[in-house]
Every structure is written in structure tokens, then in C-alpha cells.
């Protein structure tokens, strides 16, 4: 390689040519002009971006609960030696919580599929029912906490209670974000159609994840003790 070059000076022009997408005017990457096909230069669409983003968020939240689970397992192991774990019976209202959240996932699925079939009236109804069930879940969680407080089981009573409050509380905070998402979609429900439903799809991913996460936590708290 015996290429001779001159050292770069501020006045030197760029060496080789630059080409932009021919005849595309104001085209935006991946955005396409209105009425076009599947989208961008590599076939990817904004909907793909939002869905990917939400799956990544699910991945991040999973890591959070993985860390909390490993803390649970380690702490449980440590507590076995002197039997200080402190198990208590989980409030029965948690079964209601589980039922409400599962139902809300089912109703959300009905909502999502209704919207996909452009059945906007059905979509609205199922969506509002989902939101109500989600709020019901939150209420039942608070009732469970209330019950434990009356039984004098507090966050610092024993390791099991600490994890119970911390895990349900952390899940609850994330669920409240999910409720906010549901409310956002509910308030704007009139504008969604079969071709314009990314917000609903993405909220569905999150909501189902919250449901799955609750089942997991419920199983952990019920059986690993």
C-alpha cells in the first residue's frame, strides 16, 4: 500500500462522493411517506421500535426481580441456621388479587384482539373493564397489607415479612405504572383503529408481564418458605 497522501488540512474537501437515497425528498428513515408499505429501508417500522423498546423494558424489570429473588434465596438460606425466617400464612385475599389480575389479562386480550379486528366498540368496553380489574387488584393488595398490619406483621417483623412487603410493593409500583398506561390508552381510546394500535399493543406486553410477574412472586412467596 504505497498510497501517498497529504496530511489533512481544514480546507481539504471530502475525498469521495456522498450519495443520498435518490428521489426521496423529505423521506424520513423508517418512516416512509403516508400510504406506503411496511416501512423503512430495512423493512422495520416504528411499531417494531416501540414493541422492541417495551420488550427491552420487560427485560430490565426482569433483571430487577431476578436480583430481588436472589436476595430472597440467599437470605432464606442464611435464616435456616437459626430458624429466624418467620413464615406466616399469606392473607387469603391474595387469591382474589391473583384472580383479578388474571382476569384483567384475559379481558385485555379480548380488547386487543377486538381492536385488531377493528371492532372499536368492543375494544373500548373490554379496555375499561381491564382498567377496573387492574384497580381492583391494587385495592386487594392494599387490603392484604392492611390485614397484615392488624395482625402486627410489619415490614421489619421478620425476613419473610420484609420480602413480602418489598416484593409486593415493588410489583405494585410497577403495576401502578401499568395502570397509568391503561388510563392513557383508555382516555385516548377513540383514536385507535386496527391500523393505529401500537400504544395498545405495547401496553398489552407490559400488562401481561405484570400479570406473569405477580404469578411468579405469589408462587415464590407461597412455596419457598
Amino acid at each position: 500500500m504505497a498510497t501517498v497522501t497529504t496530511p489533512a488540512k481544514p480546507g481539504v474537501k471530502s475525498g469521495s462522493k456522498v450519495q443520498s437515497g435518490g428521489g426521496n425528498g423529505n423521506k424520513r428513515n423508517g418512516r416512509g411517506p403516508g400510504g406506503d408499505g411496511p416501512g423503512g429501508p430495512n423493512g422495520r417500522t416504528p411499531q417494531d421500535a416501540y414493541k422492541l423498546g417495551m420488550w427491552l423494558a420487560v427485560g430490565g424489570i426482569t433483571m430487577l426481580f431476578a436480583a430481588l429473588t436472589s436476595a430472597y434465596v440467599v437470605r432464606y438460606g442464611e435464616a435456616q441456621q437459626d430458624r429466624t425466617w418467620g413464615t406466616f400464612g399469606l392473607p387469603h385475599i391474595l387469591w382474589l388479587s391473583t384472580g383479578l389480575l388474571l382476569a384483567s389479562s384475559i379481558t385485555f386480550e379480548f380488547a386487543r384482539r377486538a381492536l385488531k379486528a377493528d371492532n372499536t366498540k368492543s375494544f373500548s368496553q373490554w379496555l375499561l373493564l381491564t382498567t377496573a380489574l387492574g384497580l381492583g387488584f391494587l385495592a386487594s393488595q392494599l387490603a392484604a397489607w392492611q390485614q397484615l398490619v392488624t395482625e402486627k406483621v410489619f415490614v421489619n417483623s421478620n425476613p419473610y415479612s420484609s420480602f413480602f412487603y418489598m416484593l409486593t410493593g415493588t410489583h405494585g409500583i410497577h403495576l401502578i405504572c401499568g395502570i397509568l398506561g391503561l388510563l392513557y390508552v383508555a382516555v385516548r381510546r377513540k383514536r385507535y383503529t386496527a391500523n393505529r394500535r401500537t400504544a395498545v399493543e405495547v401496553t398489552a406486553i407490559y400488562w401481561h408481564f405484570m400479570d406473569g410477574l405477580w404469578i411468579y412472586l405469589f408462587l415464590l412467596l407461597s412455596f419457598w418458605r
Binding site: 497522501t5 437515497g21 424520513r28 423498546g53 418489598m166
Partner: protein
């Protein structure tokens, strides 16, 4: 029909607030992050100077400091607790608000979209939120210092951090604010990470396959994955710590007497904190270094007028370092009493990371070999990066072996090692990035002469500061101690500590040259052309500074790999990625 106009507006923003304060333009946000990191590094450097003053001259009185921090001093000089709070804040601010902020949030935000041919990040509003979240985190962190800073080191080990107010000055509100700041920072980083990953996967322009991406993009992409998977663990640990401190739980806190008083905790595991923290902490240090590695590849290639040697291997090595980085956290805990077999496994995997690291180092040398090297400012700092990465990395080979680490853990050997890698190599990466991309970002050239002086003084200075620390460590000088005058076995090394302090003061002062260059060039620098370095990647095809939508509404089409320099038969010694006329070499 696809959803079209949902994401960005097509018109440029108007009004000062939308343009410069609450902007969703990745370029503005990139500069905001970069400025935040600049403020943080100034604060962090000042803290380190105060630390070095204490170490070299423990009994001295500093009237200005005693006025600002009356609680930090008494008749004997700077209090040891104040020294500990200085080092805690120094470490925390540097690791989070400089090393995790500038390379990714600063340069990554600005240049990832442009280098892949996109007009912005995938989620511009989320991008803006990430910055403001991070800024709030910084403000809370600075507040933590001024209410009486935490004294547990940036690693915040339990039970010192978890047992509460009784453990020392600054251990009350200071620690709570510190943990809160870190939690806020975690959230900001997580939001940013998902933006980076989605942008890289979804928004590459036509012809920009993954294997045609500049190595900077590979490094930002991998770093974002590391951040997505490791920051939540820190967030979880922080949550448990806050509960231990404020809700009386015992996740990390065992039964413990502090100054004669039994604390209201029992059964917790301090080792649990270490595991959670270091599961985050090790990927964190790769988050700090990988972007610098990507940039070094780019700069070495540009200024040697040669393609990166072994581009594919370089890309895979970045991924390998990222992946392996998740399996070595135990090497920070060799002395914790873990099962020696566990230590062996961690040790073996740690040493294995040396393989992709070595591949990168040799490939950098291969990139330089036979090149027609232009010793301009970005190149000097990239060469400095290679040198410092090797020096610091070699120390890691010692520390990665359990038997040696038993002796060197918590000594100055470790301090020298991680400063060479993080505190200098990564910083050199940021300097290289600044000198390289300043013309593009601001449309002006930085002063070459001042840059060269800055480089020489800094390069010599950092070696003077951090190489001797390896000697101190081998002699058994412990870290996080406010002075060493009381140890007979360290008497002969006290003068070396003074030397280090003087070198530190000189080196920090030399950074003024950089700041002067920065400000002067911003105001009066000569105008920069589109491609002053004759570089091949996409950012050099657009004006300096770029228009608000990067490519002026046009979608660039990529025909070449990122580093086609000195292609035989080509009319010039560099072929832009977008050049349609020359046949692609890859």
C-alpha cells in the same frame, strides 16, 4: 397502512426552551450529557486534589477549605471522616456521572443515530427524559455531599452503609441521598439503554448492515445491553439498602453493636450486598471502557489511514468482553471468605477476559503497523488510550489471581489498576472523542498546539500519579486510609505519596489548558469543514454542525464498510461509506 407521523416532528423546534433546554434532538441532548459530565469531572477532580492534600500533608491546615467545610476539620487538620467522604463522593461521581455519562450519553447520543444514518434516536422524548432524570440524580448526589457526605466508599458496603446514623458522620441523610441519587441514575441509564438498543437494531439506514457499523456503534450497543442487564440489579440492591436503613429490615445488616449500642437488626448478610453490588459493578466498569475502545479503533484507523485490523474480530471481542463481564464479579470478593473453588472459577473466567482484550490490543497495533500516521490531537489521545489500557490491564492479570489478590486487595495496587483503566484510559477516550468530534459538533476546530501540550502534560502526569501506586500496593499500603504516617513499614514510602500528590496537582492544573482550548475554540476557533480529518463514517458527510434532522431529510445509502482507507486503486486514501462509485471492498 403503517403508522407514519407518530415519532418526530418534521419542522425544527422553535423557541429557546424547546431548542436548548427541553430538546428532544439527540444532538442537543448529547451536548447536555457531555456538559453534565464536564461539570461532574471538575467536581470529581477537585475532590481528588483535596484527597491528595490530606495524604501528602495530613496535619496541614487549609484555611479556604476550613471556611467552606468547618465540620471537616479540627485542630489536627482534615478529619479522617471528611477524607472518607471525599473519596466516597469522588468515586461515585466519577464512575457514574463521568464514566457512565459522557461516553454513552454524550458521544453515543450525539453520534449513534448519525453514524447509522438515522435522523434521531428511536425514542426522542424518552431520550430527553433520560437526561433530565440523570441531571436530577446529579443534583441529589451533590446535595448528599453538602449535608455531610457518606463515608463508605463508592461501593457502600454493608453494614457500614446499612446500619444507619450511628455508624458515623454523614451516615444519616447523606447516605440516604446518596442511595436515592444512585437509584435515580439507574432509572435514567435504563431508559437510555433501551433507546440505544432499539435505535441500533431498528433504525440503520439502507446498506448499513451490522457488520458495516463503525466500531463505536458496536461499543455503544454492547454497553447499552450491559447497562440494561446490570443497572436493575443495583437498583434492587439500593432499594433493599434504603429499607434496611429506614424501615428496620435486615436484608444486609447482621446483629451489630455500633459504639456500644446494639442496633435493631439481625440476621442480614453483608456478603449479599457485595454480590448484588458487584454483579452490577463489574459490568459497570466495562460500560465505562467499551465506548473508549470503539472510539480508539475508529481514531487509530482514521489517523493511520488504514482499515481496522480484523474488524470482525474487534466487533466480536466487544461482545465477548461484554458477555464475560457478567461472570467475573466475584473477583472483587476474593477475600470475602468464599469457597476457594468459587474463587478459582471466578479467577479463571477473569483471566479469560484477557483474551478478547488482547485481541483488541494486538489489532490496534495491527491497525497502526505500516500506516501513514498523522499525529494530530485525537490520534495522540487514542494512542494514549492503548498505552494506558495495556498498563492498567496488566495489573488486572495480577489481581485476577486469588493467591495474589489476597495480598493486594484493598491496597494501592488496586487503586493504581482501576485508575489507569477507568480514571485515565477511559478519560483519554473521552478526550480523543472530544478532539475528534468537536469540529463536527460545534463547527470549529480546536487549537492543535494547545492540544498537544495538554496531551503531553496529562500523559506524563497520569503515569507519575498512578504507576507508583502499584509499588505502594505491593508494599502493603492500604486504600481508604487518611494517612500513613503512623505505620513504621510505610515510612520509607511517605515521600512517594508526596510525589504522587504533587503530580496530581500538576496534572489537574494542566487540564486548564484543555478548558481554555475548549472555550476559546468555541468562541473563536477557525471554522471547520465537513470532514477535517478525512474520515469515512457517516457523520463526516453532513455539515459541521449538522442540521436539526442530520441528513437534511434525505436517507443516506451505505455502500461500504466503515474503515476503507487506502483502498488500492481508489482515487483518494479514504472512501466514504456512502460513496456509490467505488466498488465496495467489503
Amino acid at each position: 397502512m403503517s403508522e407514519t407521523h407518530a415519532v418526530h416532528h418534521h419542522e425544527p423546534p422553535s423557541g429557546f426552551i424547546r431548542k436548548y433546554i427541553f430538546s428532544i434532538d439527540h444532538k442537543v441532548i448529547g451536548i447536555q450529557y457531555w456538559c453534565l459530565a464536564l461539570a461532574a469531572v471538575i467536581f470529581g477532580m477537585l475532590l481528588s486534589v483535596l484527597m491528595r492534600l490530606r495524604l501528602a500533608w495530613p496535619a496541614a491546615h487549609w484555611s479556604l477549605l476550613e471556611t467552606i467545610f468547618p465540620n471537616g476539620f479540627d485542630t489536627a487538620g482534615m478529619k479522617p471522616e471528611f477524607y472518607l467522604s471525599l473519596l466516597t463522593m469522588h468515586g461515585t461521581i466519577m464512575v457514574f456521572f463521568v464514566l457512565t455519562t459522557a461516553p454513552m450519553g454524550g458521544f453515543g447520543n450525539y453520534f449513534l443515530p448519525i453514524q447509522i444514518g438515522a435522523d434521531d434516536m428511536a425514542f426522542p422524548t424518552l431520550n430527553m427524559l433520560s437526561f433530565w432524570t440523570t441531571l436530577v440524580g446529579f443534583i441529589v448526589m451533590v446535595a448528599a455531599f453538602f449535608v455531610g457526605g457518606p463515608i463508605g466508599g463508592w461501593t457502600g458496603y454493608a453494614p457500614l452503609s446499612s446500619a444507619g446514623v450511628a455508624t458515623g458522620p454523614g451516615q444519616g441523610l447523606g447516605v440516604d441521598l446518596w442511595v436515592t441519587s444512585i437509584a435515580i441514575f439507574c432509572i435514567g441509564s435504563l431508559l437510555g439503554a433501551l433507546n440505544f438498543i432499539t435505535t441500533t437494531l431498528n433504525m440503520r439506514t439502507r446498506g448499513m448492515s451490522l457488520m458495516r457499523m463503525p466500531l463505536t456503534c458496536w461499543s455503544w450497543f454492547t454497553t447499552a445491553i450491559l447497562a440494561l442487564l446490570s443497572f436493575p440489579v443495583l437498583l434492587g440492591a439500593g432499594l433493599l439498602l434504603l429499607l434496611d436503613r429506614n424501615a428496620g429490615t435486615s436484608f444486609f445488616t447482621p446483629s451489630i453493636w455500633v459504639t456500644g449500642n446494639l442496633q435493631p437488626h439481625e440476621g442480614g448478610s453483608p456478603i449479599l450486598w457485595q454480590h448484588l453490588f458487584w454483579f452490577f459493578g463489574h459490568p459497570e466498569v466495562y460500560i465505562a471502557i467499551l465506548p473508549g475502545m470503539g472510539l480508539t479503533s475508529q481514531v487509530l484507523s482514521t489517523f493511520a489511514r488504514k482499515p481496522v485490523f480484523g474488524y470482525r474480530a474487534m466487533a466480536y471481542a466487544i461482545l465477548a468482553i461484554g458477555l464475560l463481564g457478567f461472570f467475573v464479579w466475584g473477583h472483587h470478593m476474593f477475600i470475602s471468605g468464599m469457597n476457594p473453588m468459587t474463587g478459582l472459577v471466578f479467577s479463571l473466567i477473569t483471566l479469560t477476559i484477557g483474551v478478547p482484550s488482547a485481541i483488541k490490543t494486538f489489532n490496534w497495533l495491527g491497525t497502526l503497523w505500516g500506516g501513514k500516521i498523522r499525529f494530530q490531537m485525537p490520534m495522540l489521545f487514542a494512542l494514549g488510550f492503548v498505552s494506558l489500557f495495556v498498563s492498567g490491564g496488566l495489573g488486572g492479570i495480577f489481581l485476577g489471581q486469588t493467591s495474589i489478590d489476597l495480598f493486594l486487595h484493598d491496597t494501592y495496587f488496586v487503586v493504581g489498576h482501576f485508575h489507569l483503566i477507568m480514571g485515565v484510559a477511559a478519560i483519554f477516550g473521552m478526550f480523543a472523542g472530544t478532539y475528534y468530534w468537536f469540529p463536527k459538533m460545534f463547527g470549529k476546530m480546536m487549537n492543535e498546539g494547545l492540544g498537544k501540550i495538554h496531551f503531553i502534560l496529562t500523559f506524563i502526569g497520569v503515569y507519575c500519579i498512578f504507576l507508583p501506586m502499584h509499588l505502594l500496593g505491593m508494599a502493603g499500603q492500604p486504600r481508604r486510609y487518611a494517612e500513613f504516617t503512623q505505620f513504621p513499614y510505610l515510612q520509607h514510602l511517605l515521600s512517594l505519596n508526596v510525589f504522587i500528590s504533587i503530580a496530581a496537582i500538576v496534572t489537574v492544573t494542566a487540564q486548564l489548558i484543555f478548558f481554555v482550548n475548549l472555550i476559546y475554540s468555541l468562541m473563536r476557533g477557525p471554522k471547520a469543514v465537513e470532514n477535517p480529518w478525512e474520515s469515512t463514517t457517516l457523520e463526516w458527510t453532513i455539515p459541521s454542525p449538522p442540521p436539526f434532522d442530520n441528513f437534511g431529510g434525505h436517507m443516506p445509502v451505505v455502500h461500504h464498510g466503515p474503515y476503507e482507507y487506502s483502498v488500492p486503486g481508489a482515487p483518494t486514501d479514504f472512501t466514504m461509506q456512502t460513496d456509490p462509485e467505488i466498488a465496495p471492498a467489503t
